[in-house]
Subunit: 668 residues, 3 copies
């Protein structure tokens, strides 16, 4: 990322699709970009048909002109391989390159992204154009970053995919007996007698084998990753020093970004918060913390966001004035070094005509574009933040494989979801200004004072041992319900649960008991009632101290929350879903165990006020509907306004302060 | 229509399917028809398999007997081409004649209407039977009208259809570059390099190109029209003087009736109001006004309605006693010269066994059939209405292409719909007894005092110019929100909106802003609050006077409704969706601008009372739940009862008065 | 059944799938089974792939060991033919063996039950393995019962199925003209000119011919039955004395169990009440009464139930402690001689990992397994109940063909459903402790004092005559609305309805009138108001006495409930859907007509308390949330506790008493 920000400061820009406009518009674009402080544009994402109008033909001339223009204007280019959306001729001539859904329907061209990642024909054609692109622009001074494909997520059930799935399975299991055992094919008479019999999970009479489906999800993510790597390796061969990325989509279920992140030079993300969702600020913060966690703390790139409404929800609320700036600064505060938008100029045609942009249909003389320009300018004042870390003492553990395994049909309850639980545990930390890294279970946890695992339905022996060791060594561990249930084959670990975490949690159980609709009354051991919902478990303490118990029904008096002093640390087990307030109380207790506090002293943050430190800057962001007043610990300079703040800062709705504290060691 | 009503008076009858009954029943039918005053029956709609039991065989003998029987009874026949529902043998022998949906599923026989209008085999077989039918009955005295097919609406995605689509596109665009530009195929890498690549919009990974979809809708409507024309031309060749029609279905989205109406000798419609919908009376009136508008004011034919319940809703409410008569007379009052029913005798088998009919399963000795007979008799008293016009000084503009273009996925909000907006603006006019013609934007508008365009998302330059000219010349124009947005290619017109109507409206805007759930508070410039919902826009007046403004939020103080004195006329722009009462107030103001009043003085119509003039008769129809008393302007004779009304008329629920005013020039 | 219970007493056990576990686990299983009193296990349901790992290969060795083990432990085996779930190799090598849905999608392996019952290849392969299984275990002492397939319900629309459908139709109709008439193919031009044209109802543009669909449902049920019979006949050939069964699924719509029951040696059922449904106790009782009725009063076998939660609902509530025992005893009380569970040991893998079992994942040292053991023990105390009848003087008539015919699309209302109406009429009888047999309309009714037919939309002339004769001979008959509507071809019986029941009911009607949302006010002839809903009819009494009338609207004063003294009996016609309380009042009146009372005097049963006599034992089951006190008529011994009850019995929630009354003739 330093390669990008050095000399440029924070990155600001967006997708630029000049092929949609006559060339005389390009000149206006450049002028307006410069006025707005744009220093990075993504070019070529959907240009395959333009570059290769017929099979084997190449037309790079227009792209040469675009890159020259950008270079002349001092704007760096994030140059995309155009392989996300093949031209109609590919699907027309080779229908096997088109995806097939689980019922056997082909997904046709006329939209975008219609390709099967397992099609040899697609792969050959895609790598060919990537090779030519890399060759042509290896030496061009404009491109500063490679952008591979776009928002990977294709899933295909065709016969090419079945063959690739079999190859992947051979690699994983070696022989068919091992596969049969891993998939538990003695159940329902599913034993495979020949590799050729194995197919993707397709339309079937009833529930499909969950181990098969879990491997299918692993394979689908890996198949895309394999193609990503193939493109990336070509690019690296031609430009070893130019970083490569592809744009993630936050908590996007089909693709295991934890396996992908290590293959990126820069982690990039597309982020489209719903303006109608009151939890958007925290949900978005969580996504940013995931991106930072995926990159192991390194700065990341917000590749796509938008200035106002999107076009793909049923009713697309616009962002009120100030909102996109607030969101941009939130990303910056949480570790982004670049703040880019889809897209520079609003399209006049195509399916995204009504997606907002940096330059709206109504042109530059608009409120919206003025705000874009102002935001581009103010980012220069925050340049010092580029490259700085966001220190976090708390890790939240999230695992795609466990997510996939948990959310299979045929489970105790579809109301217990991995991403939702992650958010529920994140919220009280976010409200308290406690920074969090979202990490995979295999991450190095030693440096964290607190590790929270809201749900780890699937856990490997190694990861369970690592969590155990973490607590034994002095860490504070929090584990949510229905964790430790299955092994990586999705087999239930028999015996009292959660088998592999039983030692560290000092408790075990007999039955998972989804709860009836309505609240589940509980009480704290020290007194005081609270409510939970959806889920209970019948547990017995085995060394842990019951911190809360169920108050009614068959479980009355049985533990609901347990705390286990274990080795030099503490392990908590929460066997239900506490309501918001109770989760707050729980969080306070856990933070005390971990000796942690938020960015500001406890209790000073008004609702909706987000506080996060990045480097030496304390960001305060007001997501609330009212004006907020926040006491500040030290006199500080607000980098956005240049003013000095001494005692407290007052923020109107959607306002932000970026406080560089004047510590004693600085001249006042 | 005169050819039909001359000598017969108003037409009364229904679909007659004698092939479902043994011939001894036919005699009873004829007797009962005569007793009920039936003078027109539609025969043969679903007779293909009966006439052509095997490919190439013909059996007309039974039909000869039916027509002879009808002729002998003095009942005219609306003779149908039987091509709506091919026999099983067609689909069995030639599966390519069966429709294919967007996922590639064939739609099989066993129901009805299973044909692809683009199948050469279907077309050849259909035209062959039409030719034989026309030849055989060209000279028969019974048929007075040809009925082509039935409720056209087939959409097919098969390869024959793809080929026909390409032919249609060649005709529209000439060359591929023009098509690529019109469809904006530089977006998402959709450029076509060969005509052969073009396909119907099929199952795809994401949103499909909206310009492609708009052309597909145009094509689908045109393909059916093309087949209709082919059948019609054969009929005309054999019987140049016998009128030809096909039955429309009101605001039926798949078929652009504005393009079809000019091809009909008589506009016909099928109308099935939902007895459970409180807006049915106005919704139905609007549909009748559309039929009159499509026929440029000429009388039309209500081809299908029913006496009580239908069978295709989940829960089919019956019509209470008096209801079908009320609805029949409503159609008459709004321009119908014929009032026909589906069907004469309730079927004992088949999928429509539970569709009500003129003669119910329980037989002639029933309340329902008695009401049918009484209604048939009373129509004779209204014979003078036949052929009379329904004068209207208000035009509401409705356009199928704009409807299609608006309601594509990927738009700002799916809560803003063309047909719903049309109804919302229609309601206050209907409540005030103001007659309306529903016309396409290309209609001649000069004679109207008021033109209301609730939504014209898509508008051509020519139509925008015509609206502008209309206001300049002294008309009053009302335009609803999100109008003038795209051109006929579905490309957004860039710059401040609504670009092509900016001059006439004297205002322009920057952003379309779908509103959060809940009311949007507004206030009239002259004082008084009202509520709107769903939609707002950020506008600036450019000559227009703000009549109402938004009262809260980021738009507070910005115009919500504008009024622009323009040339000799006035143009209104309504940039939100006012609630019912506010639309009423707006309507009052607009009517004052236009110098218009309803059929009766303002304020005299009780809720649910419909008042409409046809020729010299004032119809008063009580759709309300209570007895209504209406003052009448002049002494009048109620043609239904024969009584003279002097001061006011009192109508029980579902009662109707047909008042022929005794004007001064008439002897009292 | 005696063959099974003699020497064993009540049967207790479950599905046993040892192939899912290493053999060392089998020894533990046997020990735990013996400790729990298990005396019957079902083995081999899903063993096809294990027995025939490759086409033509056989591996019975493991099964030999399982059966030997069971025999050694004195546990009888219900040995299953493994044909419910073919191995992947079958579908892979012969895709035509896989089902095809109505849109043409093949249903693939990877789940279970993927076979087309009309596939010659499937049938040949299935019968081959059944033959080998029967041969091998004909002489083995362990198997005491054959279990054919599993939960039959496959429906397939493939070409093999089309051919089989045609064959079935030829058998039914003989010639094509008869079929065309039966199906009413003159409607919508559906006439078939060749048998080859006939296909299953497939994806079509609109409603499909209801007569075709009714025959299709008949055929689908018969096709499965045909295959069941083929397997059964092989088994009988080898073991003429070993009873054969297959497991039903209660009111399972696709299969007409009334046609199947006579083909079973023992009627078996799978029963999974929803713990979240407050009507579960009565709904389950009704299902048990159906099983008893299907077996003409003989004891039946509860083949599958579960100890706690299932896994296939979205949110799977567990059963509270005591619940599965309560349900087991309910089945026993209502005629079951065996109480089996799915399954013995909870699976660690596969799609049913989270289905509860007799031995949970957490092992034998659990609350749940302790309850299983205790229940197994207490069943010995109830051994005398085995083989005893459940005397019932009330028959409720239920007919699969009528159910199918009623619930076709295109009917007056989808809110009037056959199974729901059956439950509504059953509830007040169940609450009063009145035992009921659920029987087909063709059953011998003479012995019943009361026959209730909540809905018989379709009725044959013979069945109508039988109901008429039943009332004439002195029986009390109750008929619900929309009965007698169609004949077995699904043709409406024209004329006043209900044509074939008009004589017995002494009333007839003109119109079926689905009601608007909200209550339909009614009043009893003797005074007192009540509410009905959803449905009304316009009726005239023709000898019957109006017992209740509609109180408002167009039907005000018209009969809602009629009572007809007819011959020596009484016939009631209920032309609407009375609310719960009114149905209770109606039930009281009807019971008085029939001279019937419940198991205990009227009014003594608290809510949720079920009372039912089996043999000489009065079962009292508390399904309510509170402790219930019930006076008992005679001193009695509670077989479950061994205590003597003199005056009343007090039951905590989910508790049961099994009272053997000490009648005068017994020593006290």
């Amino acid at each position: 990322m330093r390669a990008l920000t050095d000399g440029r400061g924070l990155l600001f820009g967006g997708d630029y699709n000049p092929e949609q406009w006559p060339e005389h518009v390009w000149a206006e674009d450049v002028e307006l970009m410069r006025a707005a402080g744009v220093n990075l544009v993504t070019v070529g994402v959907f240009s395959w048909a333009r570059i290769e109008p017929e099979p084997g033909v190449r037309d790079f001339a227009w792209l040469d002109r675009v890159l020259d223009l950008m270079h002349g204007a001092g704007i760096a280019v994030d140059l995309a391989t155009p392989t996300a959306s093949p031209p109609p001729w590919l699907g027309h001539r080779w229908p096997s390159t088109l995806q097939v859904d689980e019922r056997g329907h082909r997904l046709w061209y006329g939209s975008r992204n219609q390709f099967c990642p397992n099609s040899p024909i697609y792969r050959k054609r895609a790598l060919s154009i990537v090779t030519d692109l890399a060759e042509r622009y290896a030496a061009h001074p404009a491109p500063a970053l490679w952008h591979v494909g776009n928002e990977y997520g294709q899933v295909c059930h065709c016969d090419d995919s079945a063959a690739a799935f079999r190859t992947w399975l051979r690699g994983r299991y070696g022989d068919l007996d091992t596969l049969n055992e891993a998939w538990g094919t003695t159940f329902w008479s599913q034993r495979y007698s020949d590799w050729a019999e194995i197919i993707p999970p397709r339309h079937a009479p009833y529930l499909i084998n969950p181990s098969q489906r879990l491997d299918w999800r692993r394979f689908c993510s890996d198949a895309l990753l394999d193609h990503f790597r193939a493109e990336r390796d070509i690019l690296r061969e031609h430009t070893p020093d130019r970083p490569v990325t592809t744009n993630f989509m936050g908590f996007f279920k089909p693709v295991d970004y934890a396996r992908w992140a290590g293959e990126q030079d820069i982690v990039s993300n597309d982020c489209y918060p719903d303006p109608g969702d009151p939890l958007s600020p925290a949900r978005t913060a969580l996504t940013h913390d995931l991106m930072r966690g995926l990159g192991q703390g390194r700065p990341w790139l917000l590749m796509e966001q938008t200035t106002s409404a999107v076009n793909w929800r049923p009713h697309n609320l616009p962002k009120p004035p100030g909102q996109f700036r607030l969101e941009s600064l939130q990303a910056l505060a949480r570790g982004a070094d670049g703040l880019c938008y889809f897209q520079w100029r609003a399209s006049a045609f195509g399916a995204e005509r009504f997606h907002s942009a940096m330059l709206p249909h109504a042109g530059p003389g608009t409120r919206l574009h003025a705000a874009v320009r102002a935001h581009g300018r103010e980012l220069r004042r925050l340049a010092r933040v580029a490259g700085e870390p966001v220190p976090a003492r708390v890790a939240m553990v999230f695992d795609w494989e466990s997510w996939w395994a948990l959310e299979e049909p045929g489970r105790p309850s579809d109301r217990l979801n991995a991403d939702e639980q992650l958010l529920r545990y994140y919220l009280p930390l976010w409200e308290r200004g406690v920074s969090v890294d979202v990490v995979p279970p295999s991450a190095e946890l030693g440096a964290y004072a607190l590790v929270v695992a809201p749900n780890l339905f699937l856990i490997s022996d190694e990861d369970a041992a690592a969590l155990t060791a973490y607590a034994r060594a002095g860490g504070v561990l929090v584990v949510g319900p229905f964790s430790g249930v299955v092994d990586p084959r999705a087999h239930v670990r028999t015996g009292r649960f959660p088998a592999p975490l039983r030692e560290v949690l000092g408790a075990s159980g007999e039955e998972w008991l989804p709860a009836q609709d309505g609240p589940v009354p509980c009480r704290w051991a020290g007194g005081g009632a609270f409510e939970a919902h959806t889920w209970t478990e019948s547990l017995a303490a085995e060394g842990a101290e019951p911190v809360a118990e169920f108050a009614e029904g068959d479980l009355a008096g049985r533990p609901a929350v347990l705390r286990h002093r274990f080795g030099n640390g503490v392990a908590w087990y929460v066997a239900t879903l506490p309501e918001t307030e109770a989760l707050g109380e729980l969080t306070e207790r856990v933070l005390r165990d971990a000796g942690l506090a938020g960015a500001l002293p406890s209790g000073v943050l008004p609702p909706g006020l987000e506080a996060v430190r990045r480097g030496e800057v304390l960001f305060l962001l007001n997501h609330g509907d009212g004006t907020a007043t926040v006491p500040v610990p030290h006199p500080a300079q607000d980098l956005l306004t240049g003013t000095t703040v001494t005692d407290h800062v007052t923020l109107a709705p959607r306002e932000v302060a970026a406080l560089r504290e004047k510590r004693p060691h600085e001249p006042a």
